[in-house]
Subunit: 165 residues, 2 copies
Amino acid sequence: MPSESCTEPTLTVGKLAERSGLAISALHFYERSGLIHSTRDSGNRRHYSRDVLRRLAFIRASQRVGIPLAAIKTALDALPKRRTPREADWFMLSTDWRTRLDDQIEQLTRLREDLTNCIGCGCLSFARCQLVNPGDAMRGEGAGARRLEPGTPRPEPFEGCPLNS
Amino acid sequence: MPSESCTEPTLTVGKLAERSGLAISALHFYERSGLIHSTRDSGNRRHYSRDVLRRLAFIRASQRVGIPLAAIKTALDALPKRRTPREADWFMLSTDWRTRLDDQIEQLTRLREDLTNCIGCGCLSFARCQLVNPGDAMRGEGAGARRLEPGTPRPEPFEGCPLNS
DNA sequence: ATGGAGCCTCAACATTGGTTGAGGTCAAAT
DNA sequence: ATTTGACCTCAACCAATGTTGAGGCTCCAT
């Protein structure tokens, strides 16, 4: 610890790595990326306050949900800067994230159904398949899957299926 | 089409891009990576047989489930080479994938619970939280998330919880 | 026979999320 | 006093998944 009097105890980068399970290089990287912050002691060593552990937990959790670091940073930037974030602050973030999770679970569930109906049944067609078509939040109107001809009547079930032609 | 007599009609790369919704550059890339194959005509142009559409569908679907191309290639390599894959062939692959999907959905669901219990309750600790601990099958050993060390003793429950210290 | 569309190759670049290594500093322990 | 371990910076690199651009064919229609 830095030799100061009545301060919150801090963690060196090595300790933080140990406690968080992250590599030191990752911590450096997060700091470079503005996801966490440190103070330096007289010897230029980093010191982290304990709430960084919670930030890291949040970062890891978010990554597991597939959120890119840039978005995580944006979320973290919304935390109060002048005081240590409280339970309520984290709660707000996590609520937001849970919404994402809900969406993602729903997507995957639909995907699973489609997989059963679509690949499973042997009719994996670009024309009808959710699996294969950018469901919703995918690429803009432009590049999506095309239907066969503009004005072609909707393919009958199984019409146009590679299996059946 | 290449001026051959009684052959299956083929798709040029442009057509395939149009039908699949993928960029030509991506198709080239997939071919370089061994995920799809083409024949060349007298002018060195690529021609794809129609079942490539299905391969692409499978590739896209798999990617949406988060499977890396290398793994997709491995799966596709298991398809019979001497004949056009049949429904049963695709069925086997899709069954495998559905298992992955099941796992993934379960993970996310657990994650959501944890998010409620763990971040939400204000006790986001490295020691106990599924969210924060590398549950199981995360990214390959390579550049991804690191787990502590093989054999590092787990931190004590509640010890080190930012809230409690 | 000429223009343009469509295609070819190959190399370089982009992005995300980090890791690795070289070369140097600092403080505590022997 | 020296050694050791932890730490510092900076630049280079890695892997996955493509995209972009330069430079050059080839085929079809006019």
